[in-house]
Point group: D2
Chain length 185, copies 4
C-alpha cells in the first residue's frame, strides 16, 4: 500500500477546503421543445401577417413584411437554407437564397416567373400538428403537418419538415424547410 | 390578387385532411443535467469501489475493477480522451490513452514509473460540488470541486473539469477530465 | 507594478518545462461531407439490392434484405425517425417506426394496406443530386433530388431531404427522410 | 410483382426531370482545427497586448484592453463561462462572470482582493502546445500546455484546457478555461 499512502501524503496537504458558493450555474446551448413550438407558431403568425398586409396594403406592404419575416425567421445570413417550398418545381424547386424565398412568399419577381406568392392567398388560420420532434443540441428537426384555411373555408394540409437552429443569443432561425402536398394515389 | 388566387386554387385540391395520430414523438439526443449528475456520482462510486477492492483483494482485484471502470466511464474506445489527472507531471502529464489512465488509477505500470495509484488510497467519501454545468447537445462540461476524504479523515478538494459525451444509446462517457490541486499562494 | 511582479514570483517557480510529446491527437465527432455522400450512395445501393433480391428471390428475400438495410441505415433503434416516404398518405403518411418503414419498402403488411412496396419496383439506377449539405456536428442535413430509373427506362425524380447522424463509433444512420414527388402546377 | 408495378405506375408520371443547378452549397456550422488554433493564438496575443499596454499606459490602458479582450474572446454575454484561472483559490477559485475574469487579468478590484493581475506581468512570449483537440460541432475542446516567458527570461508552463464555441456568424469564444500549475511531487 506504499503507493496509495504516497498519494495520500501528497493530497493531504489540502485540508478543510474553502469552496465557492455551491449554486450551480447552467449554460444551456440546447434548443428546447417549447422553443421549437414557439418558432413554429411564429412561422404561422408571420404567414397570416403577410397575407393580411397584402389585403390591407397591397404588394408593397406584403413584400416589406415578408422581407422582415425572412430575415428574422430564416438563417439566410449564415448560410444556404435547405428550402423546398410546397409549390415550386423544376430548376427553381429549391430556394437556398433570401431572394428565392422572398419570391416564393410574395411573387412579383421576374427571376422567379412561376411564383404566384404563396403568402398572398387570403389565409385565415394556420395550425401545426407535429409527429416527430428531434432535439440535437442547438438544432431541432420537426416533421408533421401544417393545416391552413383560407377565406372560403377550404382546408389545406401539407407535409412539413423544419429544421430550427438556436443561436447563442437565443434567436431561433429556420435552416431547413421541406414542404410538400400530400401524395395522391 | 391574381397570384394569391392561383396559389389557392392549387392548394384547395386537398380538403379535410386525414392526419396521423397527433401524439408527438420526441427523439432527444441531448444530455440532461440529471444525466450529468448521475455520471459524476458514478465516477465517485467507481473511485471508492477501486479503493475498496484494493483493500479487500489487492492490486489484482483493484486493477480489474479499474479496467472495467475505465471502459465504462471513459471514451477511450472512440478517440483520445483529454485527461489531465491531479497528480501527474512532466512528459506523462496527459493521459490520452486507456493504458495511461489505468496506470494513473492503480499504478504498477513500469511505463508510468511515477504513478502511485491514485485510487489505491483508502478513500472513504467522494463528493462533487458543481459551479458551472454547460449543456451542448450530447456534450456536457462541468466545473467545480471534488472533495475526497480518506481513512484518516483528511479532506482533499481538487478543482475539476469534466466533459461528458452521451452516445445515441444513452451511454455517457468522459471525454475530458482536468483535475488540479488548489493553487497555493 | 506590484501586482504583476507578485504574479511573476508565483509562476517563476516553474522553470524549463518538460512537456509531453507535441503530437496533437484529434478526436473528431463531426460528420464530414464525404461520409454524407457515402451514406447517400449506400441508400441507393440498398434500394437497388432490395429490388434485385425481389426479382431473384421473391418477397421473402426482399423482406430480409430490407429489414437488414433498415437496421443498418435508419436509426429506429435510438428513437423515432422522421420519415415521410414519397408515396404515403393520410393516417399512414409518417413512418416513425421500423415496422412502418419496412412496410413502405416491401409492402405485404396488413397493418399498412396501401403500401405496395416501393423497393419492389424493378429499379435499375439511383442517383443523388445534392443542392444543400448542412454539417452540424454529428448531424448532417441534405436536400436535393434522387433520380431513379426503372426497367422500362422511365426516369423518376423526387425532392429529397435527409438527416444523417454519426455515432461515436463512426456508424452513420438516417434520422430524417422526407421525400416528395415534384409539384405539378 | 403487382405492388411493384403499381408503385412504378404512380411514379412514372414524372419523366425527364428538370433539375436545379447541381452545385452543392455547404453550410458548415462546425468549428475546424485551424479556427481553434487561431483562437488559441489570439488568446496569447491578447495576453501580451494587455501586458504591453500596462507597461506603456498603466492600469487604465491595461484594463480597457482587457475588457475588450474579454468581450471578444470569452462568451460571458451568453452564459456562465467555466473559468478556473491559474492563480485563484478558495471562494474565488472560479470566475464565471465577466467581472471575475477582468479582475483576474488586471487586478485592482476590491471584490477580488487576492487578484494581482495575471496579465500585468511583463510577459514576452506565449506559446500553445496542444496534446488533444476534440471537435464536437460548434464546440472544440483543447488540452495541453501554454508556455510563457517573462522579461527576465523565466519560463512558465501551465496545464491548460480550453473550450471554444463557434457562433453562426463565425465568431469563436471561450466557454471553458481551466488552467493549473504543474503538479509538484
Amino acid at each position: 500500500m506504499l503507493s496509495g499512502a504516497l498519494g495520500l501524503g501528497l493530497l493531504s496537504q489540502a485540508v478543510t477546503p474553502v469552496l465557492a458558493a455551491p449554486t450551480v450555474q447552467v449554460f444551456d446551448i440546447n434548443i428546447t421543445e417549447p422553443q421549437v413550438l414557439t418558432a413554429q407558431n411564429g412561422w404561422c403568425k408571420a404567414l397570416l401577417q403577410i397575407s393580411s398586409d397584402y389585403a390591407s396594403g397591397g404588394i408593397t406592404k406584403a413584400k416589406a413584411t415578408a422581407a422582415h419575416v425572412i430575415d428574422q425567421a430564416y438563417a439566410f445570413q449564415f448560410g444556404p437554407v435547405a428550402f423546398k417550398p410546397t409549390l415550386t418545381t423544376g430548376k427553381q424547386t429549391f430556394r437556398t437564397t433570401r431572394a428565392g424565398a422572398l419570391a416564393y412568399f410574395v411573387g412579383n419577381d421576374s427571376s422567379f416567373p412561376l411564383d404566384t406568392g404563396f403568402a398572398l392567398t387570403p389565409w385565415r388560420t394556420c395550425k401545426v400538428v407535429n409527429q416527430v420532434i428531434q432535439l440535437n443540441g442547438a438544432l431541432a428537426i420537426t416533421m408533421g403537418n401544417v393545416i391552413l384555411s383560407d377565406a372560403t373555408g377550404n382546408l389545406t394540409s401539407v407535409d412539413k419538415t423544419w429544421g430550427f437552429m438556436k443561436e447563442p443569443d437565443g434567436s431561433v432561425r429556420i435552416i431547413l424547410h421541406h414542404s410538400s402536398l400530400p401524395f395522391k394515389p
